[in-house]
């Protein structure tokens, strides 16, 4: 909780602690030049465009198709990672098994590995000559250069969000309630459904929305495996790049502004949901 200190204390602070002007000045200058100025330029460009032109660009069939592909693939990746993240976090927090530390370290690989490298690695695995590609083609399943490839790449890059947001909460759970339920005859699934899940729910929502936001903007990992066919496997980020190469700044800005707004909207909603859930839990016990 933050209080705004009365002026007297603030002045006293300043006389004891040095460096207020220097550090705040540097921070504000940096934030203004590196973060705020570029972002406001995007809004300025959108303002220049006007709503009619913006709408025309956004409702262009190719743009709409790109949004459909991006959002649907991101949604699948998010649902998968939310569930998979829950499982991984549970296994890491609760069980002991050989190789656990390796598994724990592996989860962060998608954050450490450059996205372009992840992209060509996935292609190497899933194209016609790749290990997985050959295996799956026997069953008539094609992943590389299809919508499924896009979803797979997005899944890879957003794995850590699903796990790392839920894990600390699971670690902090006390076992009392679970043990009480078990002695009263609840099954493992009932314990999970009624005791564990409600407690991790706020962070579960947060992790899922971070994963979704990341997947919306993912570029490097996706473009290698996507096939990049307009109307079919073209993602929004790629379309921004294409418009930029054509020096069509207004169109690029319109698509970029929409992607940005969507990501921020998801995160804001998640924050609200998280706060609500937390308040509800503390009230309801």
């Amino acid at each position: 909780m933050t209080f705004i200190m009365p002026t007297a204390t603030r002045r006293a602070n300043r006389s004891v602690m040095p460096g207020f002007g220097l550090t705040l000045g540097t921070t504000l200058l940096f934030v203004a030049l590196i973060i705020l100025l570029p972002l406001s330029a995007l809004f300025w460009q959108l303002g220049q465009l006007g709503f009619a032109d913006y709408w025309r660009i956004i409702t262009n069939p190719r743009t709409l198709a790109a949004f459909r592909v991006t959002i649907s693939a991101a949604a699948l990746a998010t649902v998968f990672n939310a569930c998979f993240g829950l499982l991984l976090a549970w296994v890491i927090v609760r069980y002991k098994f050989p190789g656990k530390r390796l598994l724990d370290a592996l989860i962060d690989l998608p954050f450490a590995l450059p996205t372009a490298v992840a992209g060509i690695a996935l292609v190497a695995l899933y194209d016609r000559n790749g290990w997985m590609g050959m295996l799956l083609s026997d069953f008539g399943i094609k992943i590389a250069y299809t919508w499924w490839g896009i979803a797979l790449a997005m899944t890879f890059t957003s794995v850590p969000f699903g796990v790392r947001t839920v894990q600390p909460v699971m670690e902090s759970l006390s076992l009392d309630l679970e043990e009480a339920a078990q002695t009263l005859g609840a099954t493992d699934f009932q314990v999970f459904r009624h005791i564990v899940f409600p407690q991790v729910f706020p962070s579960f929502i947060m992790g899922a929305s971070l994963a979704f936001a990341r997947s919306l903007g993912e570029f490097g990992a996706v473009i290698f495996i996507a096939g990049n066919m307009p109307f079919k496997t073209e993602i929004a980020s790629l379309l921004i790049m294409i418009r930029l190469d054509e020096y069509d700044f207004p169109a690029a800005s319109a698509i970029a502004g929409t992607v940005l707004a969507l990501a921020l909207l998801v995160l804001i909603l998640a924050n609200i949901a998280q706060n609500r859930a937390a308040r509800h839990m503390s009230r309801g016990g």
Binding site: I4, R10, N13, R14, V16, M17, P18, G19, F20, T23, L24, T26, F30, V31, I35, L36, L37, P38, L39, A41, L42, F84, L87, L88, W90, V91, Y95, R101, D104, A105, L106, L109, A112, L113, P114, T115, A116, V117, A121, A124, L125, G130, W131, M132, T155, F156, V159, G217, F219, G220, F224, S237, I240, M241, L244, A252, S253, A256, L260, A263
Partner: protein, 278 residues
């Protein structure tokens, strides 16, 4: 003596656990382990000689050099900014403090392509700042400056995010004691604050370093993609791949993979020795 029913219950439970662990490990191996193995398998598929010559191509070497230079510039700036931001935000209370923290975290939620586009709009030759610089013959985009600038954008939250919570929790008492004993600001920072935050600082710097080296989307927008000149290592991977020089692309990718693995090892080493750094 354990009751046979309890025994059976225990066995069933441990079977269930083993099954869950197995599913989790199998998924993790399939989704994250296998791709990293595939990179090395592909890179060495034509023998170590081809691998080495792929790495020693002048364009790839130039890309490595450019990537290292970018990291050498971006990282110190990032650390300095992280410290300044943490000091200002945790040692003082001022209106807009919360907003400032939120803004610092903002780059994490912005798509790299969108970030690159924003930079073109401001610092490109027709942009707000860019057109002004252009009059003096200074080009800010499509060269090292542009690459460093977007790298600063995508990595600016890393150090600050690690240091701020730590300094918040540590409080001001120690620093205030040093100051009342007559130390000046710099002495206080060097001898009191810095030792306390050094692991968090290192932790953030390692993650930021991995991101600077691996950034692809934002850099590809502002680098101009000039062959042999403004290609960082990840861009070079793409260039080689598009040229059908697949072995060369995977050879370059192995360097990046090794850096990623080293990052993870350093990170978990710091985490296990200095849990408060996380």
């Amino acid at each position: 003596m354990v009751h046979p029913q309890v025994k059976a219950l225990r066995r069933r439970r441990s079977l269930k656990r083993a099954a869950l662990v197995l599913v989790a490990v199998a998924f993790a191996a399939l989704i994250m382990g296998l791709p990293s193995v595939a990179i090395f398998a592909r890179a060495f598929s034509e023998g170590i000689g081809v691998y080495a010559s792929g790495l020693l191509e002048p364009e790839t070497l130039h890309a490595i050099k450019l990537t290292v230079i970018t990291a050498l510039i971006a990282l110190p700036v990032n650390i300095a900014f992280g410290i300044c931001a943490a000091w200002a935000v945790t040692r003082f209370r001022f209106p807009g403090r919360r907003v400032l923290i939120t803004i610092i975290e903002l780059p994490f939620s912005i798509s790299p392509i969108v970030a690159g586009l924003c930079y073109l709009l401001v610092y490109g030759s027709t942009g707000l700042v860019g057109s002004y610089a252009d009059q003096y013959g200074i080009q800010l985009m499509f060269n090292l400056t542009g690459i460093v600038l977007v790298s600063l954008f995508v990595t600016c939250p890393f150090v600050a995010r690690e240091v701020i919570p730590l300094m918040e929790v540590a409080g001001r008492d120690q620093e205030e004691a040093a100051l009342t004993l007559g130390a000046n600001g710099w002495q206080t920072f060097l001898h009191v604050t810095l030792p306390n935050i050094r692991w968090a600082l290192l932790y953030g710097a390692i993650l930021a370093n991995a991101r600077v080296i691996g950034e692809f989307g934002a850099v590809s927008v502002v680098s101009g993609n000039i062959r042999g000149e403004t290609m960082t290592l990840p861009l070079q991977v793409q260039l080689l791949y598009d040229d059908y020089n697949v072995t060369g692309a995977f050879a370059a990718a192995t360097i990046l993979t090794v850096i990623a693995v080293i990052t993870l090892i350093l990170r978990s080493a710091i985490e296990s020795r200095h849990p408060q750094a996380h």
